[in-house]
């Protein structure tokens, strides 16, 4: 029971991470397509500025919780995925410094250099997280000793690449919706227009991904076994419909919340499908890392549960306050020369 609770919490942390950092990634990838002049770029940077760092901590928390609750799975997962995780890491480092360094020197070439770094530093993790998670859903070749019998290329199978593209499209939409909230005038119009187009892509891609998932993974087994769980993919579909309706009405906040729901519920759908695995082995199911062969001691799980149940609600409150504080669309006077 304790282990199952932790698997659900683990899924929630990843779900929240992708739902929050997803819009940072998406918006950064859209930088060259949405920004027509310098001021637009400043707006986009300011739309990410107050949020990205707090959002990224959900990744640190998800990683830390993997380590704390399922150390053996953390060990096998991170060492098996060495190269892809390192690339994600370098990209995230690049993204962080781009956001901070760009505004420090007033020079067009300096700024455009960091713009490129920001885009690369967002596209690469968005895509690779998709690849990595798709491979986790499908299973990777780990042997009985937890040693990875493959290379980084092993991950770039059809399903892995599909996962990468899926994440990128979800995040692009999520980012353009965020800009529709945070901008005014023509930039808002452009991002709203782009949101409509991207929402059609997302609508097409979600069923497609579910079908491929059905054939490529065992994620649906739990659902067929316990049909009540189908409520989770139903949440995905309901959120998707709400998003489409809200985009049609130009209700950007509601659309963004619905898009957040789509992302988080999709991740949770997959992790519930994984149960009781955290990392299935494609060589032999008995080699899989599961909640029973990789979890921490009951004492640690209980202490960590207490900590998380006390602290995470607080985090949600103060982080929610920050979103509330910076909820208004950015106007001219918000932009120039704030120190950052």
């Amino acid at each position: 029971m304790l282990e199952t609770t932790w698997l659900i919490l683990w899924g929630l942390l990843w779900g929240v991470y992708f739902m929050l950092d997803g819009f940072d990634f998406g918006l950064a990838m859209l930088l060259p397509f949405l920004a027509e002049h310098e001021k637009d770029k400043d707006t986009i940077y300011h739309a990410i500025g107050p949020f990205w760092d707090g959002n990224e901590v959900w990744l640190v928390a998800a990683g830390g919780v993997t380590f704390a609750a399922f150390p053996a799975a953390y060990a096998v997962m991170f060492s098996s995925l060495y190269s892809s995780l390192m690339i994600i890491l370098f990209a995230l480092i690049l993204r962080a410094v781009s956001i901070e360094f760009r505004g420090q020197i007033e020079s067009p070439s300096w700024k455009s250099f960091w713009d490129v770094c920001l885009m690369a530093g967002s596209l690469v993790p968005a895509f690779l997280f998709g690849v990595v998670f798709a491979n986790i859903f499908k299973g990777i070749p780990i042997d009985g000793a937890g040693i990875f019998q493959g290379s980084i290329l092993t991950l770039f199978n059809v399903y892995g690449i599909a996962g990468g593209i899926f994440f990128v499209i979800l995040f692009l939409l999520h980012g353009s919706l965020w800009l529709a909230i945070k901008s005014e005038g023509t930039l808002k119009e452009r991002s709203g227009h782009l949101s409509r187009r991207l929402s059609r892509a997302v609508t097409a891609v979600i069923p497609l991904f579910l079908i491929v998932t059905f054939f490529q993974t065992d994620l649906f087994d739990n659902y067929l076994h316990t049909p009540v769980l189908f409520l989770i993919p139903v949440v995905v579909v309901v959120a998707l419909v709400m998003m489409l309706v809200s985009i049609g009405r130009g209700a950007w906040w509601r659309a963004w919340f619905a898009s957040s729901g789509v992302i988080a519920a999709t991740v949770i759908f997959a992790i519930v499908g994984l149960y009781p695995n955290l990392l299935p082995s494609s060589l032999d199911p008995s080699y899989s890392m599961t909640i029973s062969n990789s979890s921490s001691s009951p004492l640690t799980l209980k202490i960590m549960l207490t900590v998380v149940l006390v602290v995470v609600p607080l985090v949600i409150i103060y982080q929610g306050w920050v979103y509330w504080l910076f909820r208004e669309p950015l106007s001219e006077e918000d932009l120039p020369h704030e120190i950052y």
């Binding site: 707090g54 150390p71 991170f78 995780l85 901070e100 602290v311």
Partner: protein, 439 residues
């Protein structure tokens, strides 16, 4: 080189680099919070300009710390998977608590501080900086508790082929944790104080913005005087604590080879490269080592000869790192005491100001030396007495680690250079002119 040596090198490179930024964040956030509180209390806009000047430097520094911190959490799994499996039950939880209880707060509120000048009342804005400072120090606490557990594991039992937690409070409240936390935090505060005094000295020597930099210098002087004296006393207790807990490390710190009572201290000593004795021993003072370690002249101090050669740390770097750290630590106290008497005549003390300017790098080197003592002094163990570093590495291809190490060296060098240039630029630019604060 194999995956083990490369992973060790990579860990050293990434941790040292990360720790070039962490201490300034820890201390400068407190100093900024003090300055902003003075602004709120007095309404004197000089304090506002000070806060914004130092805050800008803090932010550049902060982000590099954040960006390079992620590496460390990933690395335990990518490069040290055997270690992670073995200790995750305890070590992993400490990292997870750090992330959820402290790092979240630090990261969320620094953004509020940066972007919230117009949105928050001055009082609330200053409070936010206190939250950032408090969360940073709280974050350091958990990381140092985790490190202390590697130095002196407590509150566990070996079960199911790994270390499992039995007593959570024994882990966080053991004296090793508390002493390490106080030591590292105080060192970070000293580094930050020296940074603020050095930069202030730069402007005072140029006789510009004297009002602001005299005030900054004095705040940092008091801050550093207190913390540097504290660190010397606390550092001695920390060292003496090692006598019971890590005798091999203590012996390496002082290059003590013979186990004996009335153990002597040598004013000048140098361990040899073969790691089996000293090449130089000079200026023998009887019983001083016994007094330092056990506070009794007759106490027996364990020497390295009684520790099997394959369980000894490499003595030379530990010994040199220790002498360097202690020597400069004493120098810092002397400088601060001297500075205290010159605090009202800073502008007419150009020589002192020049020394303080050129002293900026010294605490950085001391911090790196301190970590060398701590980490190299623990070898060959990754968890003292429980697990060898050589058993901790992941079963990964050497080429993978070679590539990532090369990438770290290149990326970090570039980021380090850019961060240095940007901080230097912000320093040279000085504070915003009076009445022109763009908030």
């Amino acid at each position: 080189m194999d995956a083990l040596s490369l992973s060790r090198l990579q860990f050293a490179v990434t941790t040292y680099f990360h720790f070039l930024f962490v201490p300034l964040t820890l201390g400068l956030s407190v100093i900024c919070a003090i300055m902003e509180t003075r602004y709120v209390r007095s309404g004197n806009r000089d304090y506002l300009r000070m806060t914004r000047f130092w805050g800008k430097i803090l932010i550049i520094n902060f982000v590099v710390g954040v960006a390079t911190g992620l590496t460390l959490e990933f690395q335990f799994g990518t490069n040290w998977s055997q270690y992670s499996r073995y200790v995750g039950d305890i070590f992993g939880s400490l990292l997870a608590i750090e992330a959820t209880a402290a790092f979240f707060m630090e990261s969320v509120f620094i953004a509020v501080w940066i972007f919230g000048w117009k949105k928050l009342s001055p009082k609330l804005h200053a409070t936010v900086m206190w939250l950032v400072a408090g969360a940073s120090t709280f974050s350091a606490f958990w990381i140092l508790v985790a490190n202390s557990w590697m130095q002196h594991p407590v509150g566990y039992v070996i079960r199911n082929g790994r270390a499992e937690l039995t007593d959570f409070f024994a882990v966080i409240l053991q004296s090793y944790s508390i002493l390490t936390f106080l030591h590292a935090t105080a060192a970070a505060y000293i580094l930050s104080g020296f940074f603020v005094m050095g930069v202030s000295a730069y402007h005072l020597l140029k006789q510009q913005h004297t009002e602001i930099f005299t005030k900054s210098f004095r705040i940092a002087l008091v801050f550093t005087l207190v913390t540097s004296i504290f660190t010397v006393v606390e550092g001695h207790m920390h060292g003496a604590d090692l006598a019971d807990k890590q005798p091999a490390k203590l012996a390496a710190l002082e290059s003590v080879w013979e186990t004996q009572s009335y153990s002597p201290f040598y004013l000048v000593a140098l361990p040899n490269l073969k790691n089996d004795g000293n090449v130089i021993e000079f200026g023998r003072i009887p019983a001083v080592m016994s007094i330092l370690a056990h506070h009794r002249p007759g106490a027996t101090v364990t020497g390295l000869n009684d520790i099997p050669a394959d369980l000894r740390p490499p003595v030379l770097p530990v010994f040199l790192g220790f002498r360097f750290m202690v020597g400069l630590g004493m120098l810092f106290v002397a400088l601060m005491i001297y500075g205290w008497f010159r605090r009202d005549r800073l502008e007419s003390s150009p020589r002192f100001l020049k020394i303080m300017l050129y002293a900026i790098p010294l605490p950085y080197l001391v911090c790196l030396a301190g970590w060398t003592v701590t980490e190299v002094g623990r070898q060959p163990w990754i968890v003292y007495g429980l697990m060898k570093t050589s058993d901790a590495v992941s079963p990964i291809a050497t080429s993978q680690v070679g590539l990532s190490l090369a990438a770290f060296i290149i990326t970090y060098t570039l980021i380090g250079i850019v961060a240095f240039i940007l901080i230097a630029k912000a320093v040279r630019q000085g504070p915003e002119s009076a009445g022109k604060e763009t908030i």
